[in-house]
Amino acid sequence: MTDFSLWDILRNLLLALRWTVVLSLIAFVGGGVVGGLLLFARLSGGPVADRLIGLYVQVFQGTPLLMQLFLAYFGIALFGVDVSAWTAASVALTLYTSAFLTEIWRGCVASIPKGQWEASGSLALRFGEQMRHVILPQATRIAVAPTVGFLVQVIKGTALASVIGFIELTKAGSMISNATFKPFVVFSCVALLYFVLCFPVSLYAKNLERKINVARR
């Protein structure tokens, strides 16, 4: 049996870390786009759209991400499509992220005083113009901190993709642990790498939050 040095373990984990980062970015960008569309639909679509999207949010926030991944994996396969772990993980994480982001952003838009809507409406701005020139510039400022904060949740969420066979950091950790019989070292390294990835993002989010609160006070 070959002996594995700490560097061997760490090197292989770092290689797998790429896929955690890529999957996080896919989920975050995809979820951002879908979440944005849902936000517009919710703001302009009347009570029915509001209800439906509210339900969508509740379903994704009220069920385990693990189940969502399984459902994407087995659900897409029902249509006779050959699903890769990549597809299933990207779809599930994108939808999951979109539900949270659209809810966060809705809160930010809702915190803009009603007078801003009324004033811009009385200037004959249409919905799109109101959003673009009046509401969004103000809402974005508030939204940045919680959005960055949620990125940490997305990165941690990608760890679950390991369960459907997506080889990212956690899956690589399990495989290396099985090959080296050093679970303590391997999972310490895995946790450390996640920490190195997430902690700066957390700090950045906290910093943004503090800045905005200072400006508001």
């Binding site: 385990p64 189940m67 399984f70 029902l78 940490v152 390991s162 391997v186 957390s202």
Partner: protein
Amino acid sequence: MGIEFDFGAVLGQWPLLVRGVLWTLGLTAIATVIGMVVGVACAWSRASGPAWLRWLVGSYVELIRNTPFIVQLFFIFFGLPAAGFKLSPEVASVIAMVMNLGAYATEIIRAGIEATPRGQIEAAVSLALNKVQVFLRVVLPPAMKKVWPAMVSQIIIVMLGSAVCSQISTEELSYAANLIQSRNFRAFEAFIIATVIYLALSVGARRLLNWAGPKYFFGR
């Protein structure tokens, strides 16, 4: 091409599902009680403990909050035995859930404690209450009341997170779903049903805790 569903094949195995639900609820209940005690203790340490303890608790909180639950679980279940602590899947699951909830609860409760007006503490001290009495009787109850909704959300998140415990063969709800689909190959139906049950559990638990919290736990 038609897709046929057979939910009956899954629902026929209802005793497994019920067992799974009971495990999920049981694990969550234990983790909630112990996790909140951990949270209160750590929040107190962070607010008024010595510097080294504050640093230690701060590291614990950040370490847990910035790593995935599944990795914490694997570390406890697969990693610790290598260092000499052998744990059953259920105990490992509870420990992981307690550690996880404890870290988030610390931050939540700390926010409540920090919102206590100074005058209340000064008034309590002037009534000759000691440090522990001030914390337990004056600072903590209103703080808990203030942060209870956030706490309930976190408890729900931990309950949903416990689905991952099936990966170390703890026999909770998602394990039951997995077992059923391995018997009859009705994977999609099994996971749909499990998902619907999880949704019902999270809605029900949220209602129950939001109602019971102010009524029974902090009085007034």
